[in-house]
Amino acid sequence: MKKVYANAAEALDGLLFDGMFISSGGFGLCGIPELLLQAIKEAGTKDLTFASNNAGVDDFGIGILLQTKQVKKMISSYVGENAEFMRQYLSGELELEFNPQGTLAERMRAGGSGIPGFYTKTGVGTQVAEGKEHKEFDGETYILERGIVADLAIVKAWKADDTGNLVFRKTARNFNPPAAMSGRVCVAEVEEIVPRGSLDPDHIHLPGIYVHRLIQGEHEKRIEQRTIREA
């Protein structure tokens, strides 16, 4: 079982194809798989559908794949930080499926857990509910949402051991565990790979069973809104 690869391009070798569906972790620019996204840009894979909470900013995150027009469709909850995204969407070049944030997270978790659909009250009575099955439970109305199973999941963690057990750091965890679960194959990029046995088994956030390939790399970790208080 060899999970550790030398770099992002090698870790993605043989996994990319035009028209594929990719789940990505991250919230805003926090905890995004920036190295894998860069490698997908360099690979030039086209017509991609991304399930990702956000679409990055113009020159970072998924935004770099929008610049090169490699993205056909986004499934996201919030895309307000990306002017190029807005331009492509309003001109009809880019498809967009808005999912409520919790619905998107649960779709990933469910899809990766063998649950093809689930009922939620999120979005009942809104545009989100249009065309979806409605069902009453105990007097309340719910809508059916589908689990997501992606061709590939790309995620970012803080540390991994060489068997793919992952540990995240602070709010950089966000969508990464559910995204990882939703992939038929998952590639993770981390800041540090440590030998097996050096992570406390009780402190693993995502077991290595969900992670198939792994790279270590340097991360820019760009900050979107630098807000400070006086010391």
């Binding site: 909850s77 649960e106 400070i228 010391a231």
Partner: protein, 207 residues
């Protein structure tokens, strides 16, 4: 009339000791400044309970942001979790209250705060999950838009975030509750008469 900070201070009165609360972006964020001695745990839906204040320059950490993507800090009580768990606690009714902004609110509790067709394409983020799941939904917003038109309506004109979800509306002019048949005036803001509040409200006010 209340300013932004006075609206936030009024909203903070809604919070009770021991509550887990989610604050939206904008004026709701300011509510945290007015909780006083009450033991309130703030949830940030990107995966954190126990949100602390903004960091000092030295404390800035790119791995620690709130749902508005702002850098923040942790507290002694803080816990982190993934987005599926985060919305599990929201949808599951574990969060006592959400305080959020709005573009429009209707007398039946309908809320619109995520989209202006053909104009603004940003997305609902976690707002639809929050209003569907939390115990109490409190809207904090200006009573009228910049053209002076009421944002407290008989029916929302914009796409909805949630249907019949709002419990209480706090505006620069006062506080209203969503009740059977319309809205009930709870109080008027400083220097605002009930007549002025009624005049600025399109929704049915029941006494």
């Amino acid at each position: 009339m209340w300013d932004r900070n006075q609206m936030a201070a009024r909203a903070a009165q809604e919070l009770e000791d021991g509550m887990y609360v989610n604050l939206g972006i904008g004026i709701p964020t300011l509510v945290a400044n007015y909780v006083g001695d009450k033991d309130i745990t703030l949830q940030s839906e990107n995966g954190m309970l126990g949100m602390g204040p903004f960091p000092t320059e030295d404390e800035i950490d790119p791995d620690l942001i709130n749902a508005g993507k702002q850098t923040i800090t942790e507290l002694a009580r803080t816990s982190y979790f993934d987005s599926a768990t985060s919305f599990g606690m929201i949808r599951g009714g574990k969060i006592a209250a959400a305080i959020l902004g709005a573009m429009e609110v209707a007398e039946n509790g309908d809320l619109a705060n995520w989209m202006i067709p053909g104009k603004l394409v940003k997305g609902m983020g976690g707002a639809m999950d929050l209003v569907a799941g939390v115990g109490k939904v409190i809207v904090v917003m200006d009573h009228t838009n910049k053209h002076g038109e009421s944002k407290v309506l008989k029916d929302c004109t914009l796409p909805l975030t949630g249907k019949g979800v709002v419990d209480r509306i706090i505006t620069n002019l006062g506080v209203l509750d969503v009740v059977e048949g319309g809205l009930k005036i709870v109080e008027c803001a400083d220097g605002v008469t009930e007549e002025e509040l009624r005049a600025a409200t399109e929704a049915t006010i029941v006494s």
